[in-house]
Symmetry: C2
Subunit: 221 residues, 2 copies
């Protein structure tokens, strides 16, 4: 699959892209600046070579990356979400937009914060890109901390929220390719829980002086 | 500890009360009707005797139960929360109010629903009872399904949210007494995540045809 990662220069997007590249996907790292996208791609190629993996990775600006991809990952801070989507909207028709955005408040990041609309960031993204693009929310709770270490098992399930079953299934397969279990967590509006859970995990990290609290869903066979 | 359980005739409150009684606490089951409270207490005593446990259990109306207790558990449907608290408010001064309420929408229970205020039900409870009573939210995600079976290990951590550390510690000990791990999940406003997670777990139950999906926090030592 050709996967564009908008904001792929950041830790979360870079780490997921690295894991997907190692699993055989073609990765296009997008950035506001084509130069920074290319630089991150060079860094990812170097890490993949060191790990003995194939290196189908390139870097460019966000719009070009979106045009070239089958599936587009949104991995920017919430404050940059609307502007980034406005830049690439024309290239999203008929594609899945996988958002990993977890909005955090301007201060007190260990306290749940929601966009002023009261909606989840994922629902705001769906409203902005329109119905020709299907938004799926996932990876909100995955710490970037160990993503670039392929030998490190990520102890976190991925809540996958969206309004269309087939697109969620595609994302659940991408969870597997990144070494995690994706769990169908219901409608896109449920993404507000996955987004808010990030602040809860930050609170747990702080209280327990750890770096990568995560969640597992129990009761599944 | 003397624990009143408002709505202790329902499955969740009854199940928690049963586990706490078996662990040695004194339980006062509250109900809108003193008769129904007493009947539930008789049923709990019978179950405790069958399990070979002590039976310090009584039942009465919600206000009397609150007056007699050191700690008061709110375990009613969200729709009954405000009326129940209005009935018992005078008896809560200086006590902990442990709320297990998880508001669910009138339909589509597998979709996150929030009170019209936009706050968590737990924050609404705190606003109603005033500062002389400390609200702690916990057990929102614990399925009532196996609580009355002491041999059944509950595969679910308990997110404990509140604004005062010492009261959260008291509740974390009550989690242990009920056979679960309590995890300090931050401020009371974070209860909105625990409350919303209940709808996510219902969605997971439905999709996977199971009855007691739960969560574990990973990364803790």
């Amino acid at each position: 699959m050709k996967i564009a990662i908008l904001g792929g220069t950041g830790n979360e997007g870079f780490g997921l892209g690295f894991r997907w590249a190692a699993a055989g996907h073609e990765i296009i790292i997008g950035s506001r600046s084509a130069e920074r996208g290319a630089a991150a791609a060079a860094e990812m190629v170097e890490k993949l070579e060191a790990a003995g993996k194939q290196t189908a990775v390139s870097g460019t600006d966000n719009l070009t990356a979106s045009q070239q991809a089958d599936l587009v990952v949104l991995s920017v801070p919430y404050a940059a979400q609307a502007a980034t989507l406005a830049d690439v909207k024309e290239a999203l028709d008929g594609k899945i937009l996988l958002t990993v955005v977890a909005p955090l408040g301007p201060s007190k990041k260990a306290r749940v914060w929601r966009p002023p609309s009261g909606l989840s960031a994922a629902e705001e993204a769906q409203a902005q890109v329109g119905e020709s693009c299907t938004v799926v929310a996932a990876f909100q709770n995955v710490s970037a901390h160990h993503l670039t270490d392929l030998d490190h098992a990520i102890e976190c399930d991925v809540l996958v929220c969206g309004d269309k079953g087939d697109t969620k299934q595609t994302v659940i397969l991408l969870c597997q390719d990144a070494g995690m279990r994706g769990v169908n967590a219901g409608a896109l509006q449920n993404a507000t829980v996955a987004e808010g859970l990030t602040a809860v995990l930050i609170a747990i990290n702080i209280t327990n002086k750890i770096k990568d609290a995560g969640i597992r869903i129990t009761g599944l066979s």
